[in-house]
Symmetry: C2
């Protein structure tokens, strides 16, 4: 029996990220690429917009024609027609002292450099426009290329494509992009006491929650869960299933085995796999200390605790960045998880030398958002169901006093 437990700090665990290669890329139509990680850089092959556009309803002018105009002392311009939407005004350059009616989004006629809003103009007769305000060149105009300039790099690889990036690609006429494919993450539950969810558990048995809660977390992380089912506490069975899982996936997660015997069995199995190496055996976090990370070939294999809540917390804080890594996400983006500020609603004790994750419920009370710790053992799923998030108490903090500002990781 190996009793030693040389823990690896969370920072050191994340130092291992570059050891794992990225999945391949695939082309996707932009409407299917929402939420996917961009694989190549995108350059603008054209300007957006391709022409100077009005941003208001009004009159296109040379700004100089309006200089000095005011309500008390309006300028009078010659109205020489209107710009139709979507059409290029085929007119000679607009002379000084002239104006053309234009709608929002219309193309500025040649010679015009600005737009006077409808509100500051009055058509006196069919050819005379009164202007009660002077405008500077560029007023109410988006210039050609002002949004996106031709030749510029507009998107970098490794970013997650949000609706605005999809919109930008559409604007550039790019209908297909190269993105990383979604990694397949295999999940298997171990334990002689675990039965499938469609079975009626015997008196000492429990249903396989982890395949579902973790499977669901895998989905949420942008990967594809591959359920390998339940494996008995048996070297050959576990080894065989791990090998099959490795062949079919990009990452393998074993859950269960919180007992020392089961942990030892897991380690033995992981060590027996071809080209394998145990990288992490224990992390100073609570819950989640007995977490194992190994590498078989170039693929990560995790041993997560069996307690459903511990497994979920470890997945959220430790496994997810590795999924993001192999998904092609840029290193800076992996840890961009934004946290909510709140105040802790009661004193919380915490051991030094260990990072604690406290499940909390958020309560809006007037001006402050309070994070209310949810008490309960880490084997209890209901504590996660009640939780809105996790408060992380770092290893150098000895606990929190009521009212202390905390940042909450949303669950």
């Amino acid at each position: 029996m190996k009793d030693f437990f040389t823990v690896t700090s969370l920072e050191r665990v994340f130092d291992l990220l570059p050891q794992f290669p990225l999945v391949e890329t695939e082309p996707l139509p932009i409407e299917a690429a929402q939420g996917r990680i961009l694989a190549g850089e995108i350059r603008a092959e054209e300007d957006i917009p391709g022409f100077a556009r009005s941003t208001m309803d009004g009159y296109a002018v040379r700004a100089a024609s309006t200089f000095g105009a005011s309500e008390a002392n309006p300028a009078y311009l010659t109205l020489s027609g209107m710009v139709a939407m979507g059409e290029s005004p085929r007119t000679p350059p607009l002379p000084l002292g002239h104006a053309m009616r234009i709608s929002t989004g219309g193309m500025l006629p040649p010679g015009a450099d600005s737009v006077v809003m409808l509100e500051y103009a009055a058509e006196i007769d069919a050819t005379t426009l009164e202007i009660a305000k002077s405008v500077a060149p560029g007023t109410h105009v988006i210039l050609k290329g002002e949004d996106v300039e031709k030749g510029r790099t507009v998107l970098l690889p490794g970013i997650k494509l949000r609706p605005q990036e999809i919109g930008l690609l559409a604007g550039l006429g790019i209908r297909e992009v190269s993105v990383y494919r979604q990694p397949v993450v295999a999940i298997l539950s171990t334990g002689d006491e675990i039965v499938p969810i469609n079975a009626v558990p015997g008196p000492a048995e429990v249903r396989d929650m982890n395949s579902y809660s973790i499977g669901s977390q895998i989905l949420e992380a942008g990967a594809v869960p591959l359920k390998m089912g339940i494996v008995r506490d048996n070297f050959e069975a576990l080894r065989q299933t791990c090998q099959t899982a490795l062949e079919r996936s990009d990452m393998v997660i074993l859950s269960g085995g919180s007992s020392v015997g089961m942990r030892d069995l897991t380690i033995e199995v992981l060590e027996s796999l071809a080209d394998s190496q145990i990288l992490v055996h224990g992390i100073p976090i609570s819950p989640g200390k007995p977490t194992i990370l190994a590498k078989a070939g170039e693929k990560p294999i995790w041993g997560l605790p069996g307690h459903v809540t511990s497994a979920m917390v470890v997945f959220h804080r430790v496994v997810r960045p590795f999924i993001a890594r192999i998904s092609g996400m840029a290193p800076a983006a992996i840890f961009m998880e934004r946290r909510i500020c709140a105040k802790i609603s009661r004193n919380i004790a915490s051991a030094q030398g260990r990072t604690d994750f406290v499940r909390v419920r958020l309560k809006d009370e007037g001006d402050a958002l309070w994070a209310e710790p949810i008490l309960g053992k880490s084997g209890l799923i209901h504590t996660m169901v009640q939780a809105d998030g996790l408060v992380e108490i770092d290893m150098n903090t000895e606990g929190l006093n009521k009212g202390a500002e905390v940042s909450v990781i949303l669950l």
Copy 2:
């Protein structure tokens, strides 16, 4: 021409939410229900766990057998076998002074009420156990029903199913749940200057970004986008497409028509639809003031501004709660959007009587997270691509001073 513009405050707009009925429900296997809205309440038909379980590796005892035990003065118990995982110990009640070896997750033998951790016990010989610590009843034990009690309501309708709820359902042996179906939201772009993204725009034309950026936002909101394409600025064409869209969807979004003429056309078309009513014509927000909300039959129809950024902001802050509403989300959950705390990096002016949404980039600088305003006209997609979020400056605030605490809505 209708120049009047009777704006409706954001609060009053949200008062209209209950006017729109929810979509129907559908049964789904739990592994497909991630992120969906639960339609019925879930009651536990059994206890979780179904038996008292050990949460540690150690020895099951009656606590009274350990009272007074310490390192200096250990207790000696009779070791009477071990509990196998997944098996119900078919033993007579454990007598005082006896112990059974047990692993994490194992079922407590009858009579036992607590577990002594491995670390505080030593097997002296095959039948003698030395115990160096006393335990209280219940120590290292999860009681039958302690996680979920049979008969209790565990999930309420209207919640979004997260991984922990999926895990709980699995634990209860519930393989299928009733959820609301995903609403279909039709999107159509209007404007004579708009061309499909696969076309090369003429000199005064632009590509249809909004169908893609808003289509992508619809997906992100948990609904199914239905692209109706581009419609000319023509009453009959717009009316016909609106009618088709209403027949095929649960909500219709028109984007474009930022010019007064186009807005008037949109209003005329909406008024011409069967059983229609204009509910909102203008909201005091920037960007997004010209937003229109109508009702045709029981379905909402939106007229969003044509500027890509304005349309996205209005979708995010105004349209999304309506999608959540018809998706079945509980009223309390609709506005549970959590915001990130940051400090604004420069002074920002804002008009009173209007809610301003300022696009910001987040920058972590040591201890503080700064929200850096992104300047640029609301027609520019690149400002949204650079943005991490929006800062909302409410209508009673006259602007923000550098360093002021702000809450950021993530984009």
